[in-house]
């Protein structure tokens, strides 16, 4: 079974800067793996048996090579860095197109696992779009994934509760945050990973023309961005217990109704 895990590196601090074209400043901020994507990788590593392979793929700046190698140390078999200045500023459609192209290039996968949403862009569209681009179904908001005789069993969290689904491969599943805890890299794993190479795919390798990817290939454009940083509100301080609780109850009624 060939499993592909798509991951995204997001700025790790609360403070985020925006550049001239309102693109999130990624190079200045320190990066961490998106929380839901870590759950997706752990799910893949848990499902993996001896003859299966887990390929982890991310689209982003060249400096992600080291963090990607670290994922090899955690148990991934191949690490793919899809990186090219032409990809910068891509919206979800352009991103999904590029990732789908990379997935096809790497050979057909039985299962694609992603995080359901990234904590920076928070659109949650990429998994479904990649599935559509590859012509396979997508099951979002999954809590757990199991494999039984070639079919994938997914427990999916909906507003009304949890639904257990079975679906044949190939299929794309997006995981909720905190459903799986990503295992730590081991000393042995890190030693093995040192010799492994992170494979680079750029627009040329994928046969993508600069017009069809990145900012130029995007179908939506951010035209303004304003920031709301933690401002001082200096609200009143109530020291009388009853008065305080009554005021709190009033605010609660107003919000909960």
């Amino acid at each position: 079974m060939k499993i592909l895990v798509c991951m995204k590196a997001v700025p790790s601090t609360g403070q985020v800067q925006v550049d001239g074209q309102f693109r999130l400043q990624r190079d200045g901020a320190k990066l961490q793996w998106n929380i839901a994507d870590e759950a997706a990788l752990e799910a893949a590593l848990t499902l993996k048996s001896a003859e299966d392979t887990v390929t982890v793929l991310t689209m982003g700046p060249a400096k992600l090579e080291d963090p990607l190698r670290e994922l090899l140390a955690r148990g991934a078999d191949r690490a793919i860095l899809v990186s090219d200045p032409a990809f910068a500023g891509a919206d979800t459609v352009a991103t999904a197109g590029t990732i789908a192209k990379a997935a096809e290039f790497l050979g057909d996968f039985d299962l694609i696992l992603c995080g359901r949403r990234a904590i920076d862009g928070e659109t949650g569209q990429t998994p479904a779009m990649v599935a559509a681009a590859l012509g396979i179904p997508c099951i979002s908001n999954a809590e757990s994934v199991q494999l039984q005789n070639g079919a994938v069993f997914v427990a999916r969290r909906l507003e009304s509760g949890t639904v257990l689904l079975s679906v044949p491969c190939p299929v794309c599943v997006s995981m909720c945050e905190y459903t799986y805890t990503l295992r730590l890299p081991g000393i042995m794993g890190m030693r093995r990973a040192k010799s492994k190479t992170v494979e680079l795919l750029d627009s040329a390798a994928l046969g993508l023309s600069p017009q069809s990817c990145g900012l130029k290939g995007s179908l939506t454009k951010v035209i303004s961005m304003d920031s709301k940083f933690p401002g001082l509100r200096n609200g009143p301080k109530e020291t009388d217990l009853n008065a305080g609780t009554d005021a709190l109850l009033a605010m609660l009624q107003e919000v909960v109704k």
Binding site: T13, Q32, T181, G186, I187, G189, M190
Partner: protein, 357 residues
């Protein structure tokens, strides 16, 4: 090299000198590299290609007790142990760690504990609580383990102790950082504890309590029982009248708050209640509670005995400026380190044995 998040902390510490006065090793060696700032600066230099992560730099990253004095002081929440532990992982992966450290790791591989011996067993049956002894008490300070078990028996508590008690992973975490091998030890330990079905785990060594309470859940090694430090549990027994206070023994003592009680659990009252119940008259050292100066850790003592002995001597100096003649402790790690440098006319007291007599 180290993770982006750890690098962020290192780059905040590299030009900040605010916690330099607290590092117990720097107070003894006077070396500039024995400060959180210097370690942050060095790792930032490596990241910028201006310095090489070599054997000497690995040695520097091990000259730290991870006592959290710097973490506790930082007003904006930065944590040197974050990048120091990750640098140790880097050292072990690239075979740059000091020989003494590699020897301890081999001991753990062979026997599960850093001392490379068959861990003495204090196995006994019981149902009220499960007592987790830990390798330091079992291998190096057995009288403290016996003392605690006697105290619990005196209080009518039916205490179980696991036979070949698995390691908690805290030693390995200090030697090689939070890596999968540590998480595997944690899972094995949690499984053994959960298998007993007992809902309260009394942990003798506060270092073991810290990793069980704060890290196990993140690694999927939940312990479905309440983890409580031995000091808090015994103090509760005294408070509930299950343990009679002993007559005054006429010695003036001062309590040493060990690193984890001082700066992880912020637990100060229990050890003093136990000391009073053991008959000691109490005075206080100036550096106490959250500002208590570390006297060393068992794993650091194992790989750099000369530095830790000096650090223990530094803690005895604090006692020397009081009238007390006895340093009172309830931590096997502190007891072991302090007894490396006990001055003339002073004694280090294991409170459980004192209470049990």
């Amino acid at each position: 090299m180290i993770s982006q998040n750890a690098l962020r902390h290192a780059e905040k510490c590299r030009f900040c000198f605010m916690c330099r006065h607290l590092c117990p090793i720097q107070l003894q060696t006077g070396k500039e590299v024995n400060t959180p700032r210097a370690k942050g600066l060095l790792l930032s230099m490596v990241n910028k290609g201006a310095a090489e992560f070599d054997k000497d730099m690995a040695q520097t990253m091990y000259e730290c007790l991870i006592c959290d004095a710097c973490v506790n002081d930082c007003a904006t929440g930065y944590q040197p142990p974050l990048y120091i532990r990750e640098a140790r992982t880097e050292a072990v992966v690239n075979d740059l760690a000091p020989q003494a450290v590699m020897q301890l790791i081999e001991n753990v591989d062979a026997t599960g504990n850093i001392y490379g011996v068959q861990k003495p067993s204090f196995a006994q049956e019981g149902s009220d609580v499960l007592v987790y002894i830990g390798e330091v008490a079992a291998c190096k300070v057995p009288q403290m383990a016996e003392g605690l078990l006697k105290v619990l028996a005196k209080a009518g508590v039916s205490a179980k102790v696991l036979d070949n008690e698995p390691a908690s992973g805290v030693m390995l975490a200090d030697l090689m950082g939070y890596v999968d091998e540590v998480a595997q030890q944690a899972k094995a330990c949690a499984a053994a504890i959960n298998a007993t079905g007992i809902k309260t785990v009394v942990v003798l060594d506060s270092y073991d309590a810290e990793i069980m309470k704060q890290r196990y859940a993140q690694w999927g090694a939940e312990i479905n029982a309440e983890i409580i430090t031995a000091t808090a549990y015994v103090a509760k027994l005294i408070e509930d009248g299950k343990l009679a206070a002993k007559a005054a023994c006429g010695t003036l003592g001062a309590c040493h708050d060990d690193d984890r009680l001082a700066r992880t659990f912020y637990e100060f009252a229990p050890i003093r209640a136990i000391a009073k119940a053991a008959g000691y008259q109490l005075t206080e050292m100036f550096n106490k509670e959250r500002l208590a100066k570390s006297c060393g850790s068992a794993v650091a003592l194992a790989y750099m005995p000369n530095i830790v002995t000096k650090v223990a001597a530094g803690r005895w100096d604090d006692l020397a400026r009081t009238e007390a003649t006895a340093m009172l402790t309830a931590s096997p790690e502190a007891y072991l380190c302090l007894s490396q440098a006990t001055p003339e006319g002073k004694q280090v007291v294991d409170l459980y044995s004192a209470l049990a007599e």
